[in-house]
């Protein structure tokens, strides 16, 4: 490989890319959010982590600043109704047992995914376990409207708390697997998550301003799709765009990837439900 003149320029360009997110600060209803902080110790190639909010246009950013403007809140309201709604053979609603309301789940999102009895669990599974086992109700579809509304409602209870998933102990083997997936170059385009979200955040790829691919705002409301997008749906889209065979939503691979990606955001405040283009 020969060193050509543009490479010097490219190195400068890359150094600059670390500043390509904007300087805005996010406060929602008067409360300030950490959208930029020192990277967690396990991250080798990145020194500062940023919320995806910092890479969005001022118009999109504004929609997240006031809950009255945030289109995701309609779905959160629907989830509040679902929480009270009796469903399944046991004649129960979530509220029958969780009598203090969803507020009981404050702090839970910050620690998800987590290992329970040797099994890596993500929020969708916690919810469906309760629907099936405690209520005798049909499980919800992973990326379905009801499921993601409920994930958003439970996530909202932790808004403003820093992400803090465990990566050691029981979680370690899952985390390692997720890390391996993150750095694998899939598909005919041979691109890994890290190619775009670690090596090129701050750069434009076609019309998209690349962020660090953080999940501290998920589920996010995507203006383009006018609905809440699950983490696994986002992963699927990103892998599909490399001309690869994706993994299924809810698969062991995506759950491990979710744990790893969540751990890259450790220290950033939870923004659920965030708004994206």
């Amino acid at each position: 490989m020969n060193l050509k003149p543009w490479m010097a320029a490219a190195v400068i360009g890359l150094a600059g890319s670390a500043f390509a997110q904007d300087d805005s600060t996010l406060s929602i209803d008067g409360e300030e959010f950490v959208t930029e902080t020192e990277a967690p110790a396990h991250l080798e190639n990145v020194s500062t982590i940023y919320s995806g909010w910092r890479f969005r246009t001022p118009e999109t950013q504004a929609l997240q600043v006031d809950d009255f403007d945030n289109p995701a809140m309609i779905f959160v309201d629907q989830a509040l109704d679902l929480f009270q709604q009796v469903d399944g053979t046991e004649g129960k609603s979530c509220a029958s047992c969780h009598t203090d309301g969803p507020e009981e789940f404050a702090g839970l999102h910050a620690k998800m995914p987590k290992v329970v009895d040797g099994k890596l669990m993500v929020m969708e599974e916690l919810i469906n376990t309760h629907r099936q086992d405690a209520m005798g109700a049909e499980p919800w579809k992973w990326s379905g409207a009801d499921m993601q509304a409920m994930v958003a409602l439970i996530g909202l209870q932790s808004r403003g708390m820093p992400m803090n998933v465990a990566i050691d102990g029981d979680a370690a083997p899952f985390w390692e697997k997720g890390k391996e997936i993150y750095y694998t170059r899939y598909g005919q385009l041979e691109l890994s998550c890290s190619n775009c979200h670690e090596d090129n955040y701050g750069n434009m790829i076609r019309a998209d301003h690349l962020s660090q691919g953080m999940i501290n705002g998920f589920p996010t409301y995507r203006l383009k799709q006018a609905k809440l997008i699950s983490r696994h749906n986002r992963f699927r889209g990103c892998i599909r765009d490399t001309r690869a065979e994706t993994f299924a939503e809810g698969s062991d691979e995506f759950k491990a990837l979710e744990l790893y990606v969540a751990s890259r955001a450790n220290g950033l405040d939870i923004e659920t439900p965030a708004v994206r283009q």
Binding site: M204, R236, A244
Partner: protein, 158 residues
């Protein structure tokens, strides 16, 4: 003008050998990352090359800015701007870079446009499903590579 030359060559070639045959993706010979012979055995069409820079499996401007294509919106910043690229690289080097950039730039993020092997979880285009066909098609055909290269050699600044 270029078109006319292209057609003339094809006729001349057709006269001597039966027809120019494309070099298969698995048979391409790289020397220091460069490929000296036309992959299709034919000259490239720079006008079609410019179209491929923007659309379909080429989509080069997703990652590269090109002043000569400034009428098109949204040029990427992942790779270096391609202005003046023909001052920096010979035609053979450009052909090598477009056919399989990993031969020139170890581990580069630039996709290999004329390679059909060695992929992890190869999909069926952008469907997200597994590839199930018999023969993997490269991202660009031999002639499309030549067309893109013919466009790139026009990008001179000096």
């Amino acid at each position: 003008m270029k078109h006319v030359i292209g057609v003339g060559c094809a006729v001349a070639l057709a006269g001597t050998i039966v027809w120019a045959e494309a070099v298969k993706p698995t048979d391409v010979v790289f020397e220091d990352g460069a490929v000296s012979v036309s992959l299709s055995g034919m000259p490239g069409d720079p006008a079609n090359g410019a179209v491929l820079m923007n659309k379909g499996s080429g989509n080069c401007i997703a990652c590269h800015a090109v002043d000569a294509l400034s009428d098109l919106p949204f040029h990427g910043e992942v790779g270096p701007p391609l202005d003046g690229v023909a001052d920096r690289w010979s035609e053979a080097e450009l052909r090598g870079i477009v056919a399989d950039a990993k031969k020139m730039f170890d581990g580069t993020m630039m996709p290999s446009f004329y390679r059909t092997e060695g992929f992890i979880r190869l999909g069926d285009a952008y469907t997200g499903k597994a590839f199930e066909g018999a023969e993997v098609q490269p991202l660009l055909t031999a002639q499309e590579i030549e067309d893109v290269v013919a466009f790139l050699v026009t990008l001179k600044e000096e």
